[in-house]
């Protein structure tokens, strides 16, 4: 794992527990950053440490996403491209002009602009072909002609033909469903979730959650490749890319700030979730009926929850004698195992139920 020296190098960041990475993600684990004695940031993430194989795998995944998107678009174009085509195709067997239609060598499925019955067309193609007569001269959508040209050329290559061949075997609803879900996964699914809690003494608690690993984060991609890693943390190039999310921002980043005056308490509770009983951290906010759950998406295990709880308490409230909780009694494993701390909720106040 991490050598002591390296830990010292990284200075104010501490790793609590990094489980072994599975494929591309790991079980939720915790990073604690303490820029000053009165500030602490707790980050729980499923993004493992970026090693070279992992970087390659992630980049490969990115590439796979792009290829998937491209293929889906191509398939869509071969099926329904006629509606947006204004350009007549330069080759005689393909195009919108009825005069160029009778060639029996037409292999490019000839959907586009073919009016009369053909041998190599599927049902979808014919349907479109009949309606095309009307729309041909006045398409609903116009796209720039150079792009049309590229698409048409691609559709006529062997790749386009094979895509079309595969797609023609599927019924329409299946084709649409598959392409929609593929597009959704390739565009919007993220593989890593990061949730963090920033505690500022005297100010309050800010929670934020974000997910990364999609194709939208330029920061993320550049960090994968290795440029500009770390956002002012030159030493930790091996830190997960997601950790910079607080600084760099990400897509779908949700934050919420709770001022100290409104925080009644921070405590650990238990609740049923799915087929499990989980521990989770809650903040009781004055004037709100529901409690605010920290790390709501990841719901990390008890060890993390307990560590964060102790440190949040220590950071948020200064003790009367000026020392923080941490200095008075360091957290040892036996303590964690031993007994029930004062933060264990025994009241009916927080009844959080999910799922």
């Amino acid at each position: 794992m991490v050598g002591r020296q390296e830990q010292a190098l990284r200075g104010n960041r501490r790793d609590i527990y990094i489980p072994k990475a599975k494929m591309l993600t790991s079980a939720p684990h915790l990073y604690i950053r303490r820029p000053s004695p009165t500030t602490a940031e707790f980050t729980v993430t499923t993004c493992p440490r970026l090693t070279l194989p992992l970087r390659i795998a992630l980049l490969g995944l990115l590439l796979l996403r792009i290829v998937t998107i491209f293929l889906v678009l191509l398939a869509l174009y071969t099926q329904y491209g006629a509606a947006i085509t204004t350009l007549s195709y330069p080759y005689p067997h393909f195009g919108s002009s009825p005069s160029a239609s009778s060639s029996p060598t037409a292999t490019v499925s000839g959907r586009v602009g073919i009016a009369e019955p053909r041998t190599a067309t599927s049902g979808r193609g014919r349907k479109w072909a009949t309606s095309l007569k009307r729309t041909n001269s006045d398409p609903y959508v116009t796209i720039p002609e150079p792009i049309q040209l590229v698409l048409l050329t691609l559709a006529s290559t062997s790749l386009g033909q094979s895509v079309d061949g595969v797609v023609s075997m599927l019924p329409t609803w299946a084709f649409l469903a598959i392409s929609a879900s593929l597009l959704y996964i390739a565009l919007f699914r993220r593989i890593h979730t990061t949730e963090s809690v920033l505690v500022l003494r005297g100010l309050g608690i800010q929670t934020s959650s974000s997910s990364e690993g999609g194709i939208w984060g330029l920061n993320y991609i550049s960090r994968l490749i290795g440029f500009g890693n770390g956002h002012g943390h030159p030493n930790n190039s091996s830190m997960p890319a997601c950790l910079a999310i607080g600084n760099g921002g990400g897509v779908g980043n949700k934050t919420r700030f709770i001022p100290t005056a409104q925080i009644q308490d921070v405590l650990i509770n238990e609740a049923f979730r799915g087929f499990e009983v989980r521990y989770y951290l809650v903040v009781i906010v004055q004037g709100e009926e529901d409690v605010v759950v920290l790390f709501p998406g990841l719901l990390p295990n008890k060890r993390i929850v307990e560590t964060v709880w102790r440190e949040v308490k220590a950071c948020l409230y200064e003790q009367a004698d000026g020392t923080s909780w941490q200095k008075r009694g360091s957290i040892t494993h036996s303590q964690v195992q031993g007994g029930v701390g004062e933060g264990w909720n025994t009241g009916p106040r927080a009844s959080f139920e999910k799922g």
Partner: protein, 493 residues
């Protein structure tokens, strides 16, 4: 030093719902915790109460979200409870699963799953069942299934034991009798101060309960024309003998002037009672209070002199112990486990029929008027007979026995082990004591020609589900709960 265990009480019935089984589980759990054990309670969710709660002393209750079908019993889905049950058992590191009540499907499922997981199981039966009607036959078959593979069974009375042994074809040696108990502090007779308050019709009688503790009970002497109040507290269902009550009340009141009734409780038969009151114009002599809370029972009881219990079937009848503890003379039907409960000088027995009930009540009234009954002594006597501490101690002995912490000779008695070589009560019907799946199947197979095979399939599916869960939700990912600081903590082996 005595070994301690981590015990899970599984039952559909628990607070906030009031009732005998509920308070039994609560009292037993708190007393077991006083003895240094760890106890959690697993029940299904009630309206507005879902999730994990801590009660007094750190008694932890899991209100598992479930569907309720009939009289707050959950829907018997056999397997759907397993994933969450396993999670709770693992995170609390449970060693003994103790199911309660034969109508609670949660308890039966819990016992089945616990055996699949290789835990020790105990089952407590609180009720009597018939053998004749279709519902009972089905219920008995299910009980037989569930008890095919249980380590020990506890019944609340000897009658109940007899009934359970017959219904589930058990070896009588693996069934213990441990009665219910009462909390004597909650059922004190009227103290003199309260009595004077009552005479002045003061309403704040219950406030003095704790402050005035008369060390020597005062004897209340009844004159020949003093009014006698008969109290009935029961849910007004058929099996509680409400029909008998409806028939008997006019005759009793006719035979005995200066008597009146107080009836507390609610149920489908309350309409019959009200009709009877209307028809006989007894509004001034019969008072119906409707449903009352368990805390108020004592305050109702101490208003009377006689407690009438006309139940048609009863496994134990905690309420007559409570009545006796309040210093009431008890008239009850000779059914089920009731004759075992109280000594004869506290009770007048009747056959469960109208004439005999009227006659028995008449005898009781005559006895009281003659001042032959020392009701003021009942409280101390009951206090010595029934205590939850004692129940917990005896239950703990059962736990010791099934966990092998006391020898079989000590647990089952010398004769049992001496007669047949290598005999153990926990072997069950097939005579094999083993947690191996094949041996468990042998035990279930004996349940019936078709039922046996069906039950075997259920057990196999349960086992496969267990294997699947071990793979899908691995043990190492389940957080272990820290134990609540135990009383006089002892090291667990």
């Amino acid at each position: 030093m005595a070994p301690t265990y981590r015990i899970a009480m599984v039952c559909d019935f628990f607070y906030p719902q009031p009732g005998g089984i509920e308070s039994h589980i609560y009292q037993l759990s708190t007393k077991l915790m006083d003895r240094g054990h760890k106890v959690v309670i697993i029940t299904h969710a009630y309206e507005g109460r879902t999730g994990v709660r801590y009660l007094t002393n750190g008694l932890k209750v899991y209100y598992v979200p479930f569907m309720v079908v009939y009289r707050s019993a959950s829907f018997p889905t056999v397997f759907s409870f397993f994933p969450i049950f396993r999670n709770i058992v693992l995170r609390e590191r449970i060693e003994i699963v103790h199911g309660h009540a034969s109508l609670s499907s949660l308890a039966h499922e819990g016992i089945l799953h616990a055996r699949t997981m290789g835990l020790r199981t105990v089952y407590t039966d609180h009720s009597l069942f018939g053998f004749a009607d279709a519902g009972s036959i089905l219920a008995n078959k299910l009980l037989k299934f569930s008890l095919s593979d249980v380590d020990h069974v506890i019944c609340v009375s000897h009658t109940c034991k007899e009934n359970t042994v017959l219904r589930a074809s058990l070896d009588p040696l693996m069934v213990s009798v441990i009665p219910n108990a009462v909390v004597p502090e909650d059922f004190k007779p009227l103290s003199p101060a309260e009595a004077t308050n009552n005479n002045q019709k003061s309403s704040s009688s219950n406030n003095n309960t704790s402050s005035n503790q008369a060390p020597v009970p005062v004897r209340r002497l009844l004159g020949p024309h003093d009014p006698i109040t008969i109290v009935v507290i029961s849910r007004l269902f058929y099996n509680k003998g409400t029909d008998l009550l409806t028939a008997a009340i006019p005759r009793i009141l006719q035979n005995h002037p200066n008597t009146r009734f107080i009836i507390a409780g609610d149920g489908p038969k309350s309409i019959d009672l009200e009709q009877m009151i209307e028809q006989n114009v007894l509004q001034d002599r019969v008072e119906m209070l409707g449903s009352i809370r368990h805390e108020e029972v004592r305050n109702v009881m101490v208003r009377g002199h006689i407690y009438l219990h006309p139940s048609l079937t009863e496994a134990f009848g905690t309420v007559i112990v409570e009545a006796a503890s309040c210093g009431l003379y008890v008239v009850c039907t000779r059914v089920g486990g009731i004759p075992e409960v109280l000594p004869s000088h506290m009770t007048v027995f009747a056959k469960p029929e109208e004439d005999d009930l009227v006659a028995a009540t008449g005898r009781a009234i005559a006895d009281l008027r003659a001042n032959k009954v020392r009701t003021e002594l009942f409280h101390e006597q009951v206090k010595n007979m029934y205590s939850w501490t004692d129940v917990a101690r005896r239950t703990e002995r059962v736990y010791n026995g099934i966990c092998g912490d006391i020898s079989e000779v000590e647990f089952y008695g010398h004769d049992a082990t001496a007669n047949v070589a290598g005999w153990t009560a926990t072997r069950g019907r097939s005579g094999v004591r083993s947690f191996a799946l094949i041996d468990r199947l042998k035990r279930y197979y004996g349940c019936g020609v078709w039922a046996g095979k069906l039950f075997c399939i259920v057990v196999i599916v349960d086992y496969l589900l267990y294997v699947f869960l071990e793979w899908w939700f691995p043990r190492r990912n389940i957080d272990i709960c820290p134990d609540w600081p135990r009383k006089n903590k002892v090291k667990t082996g």
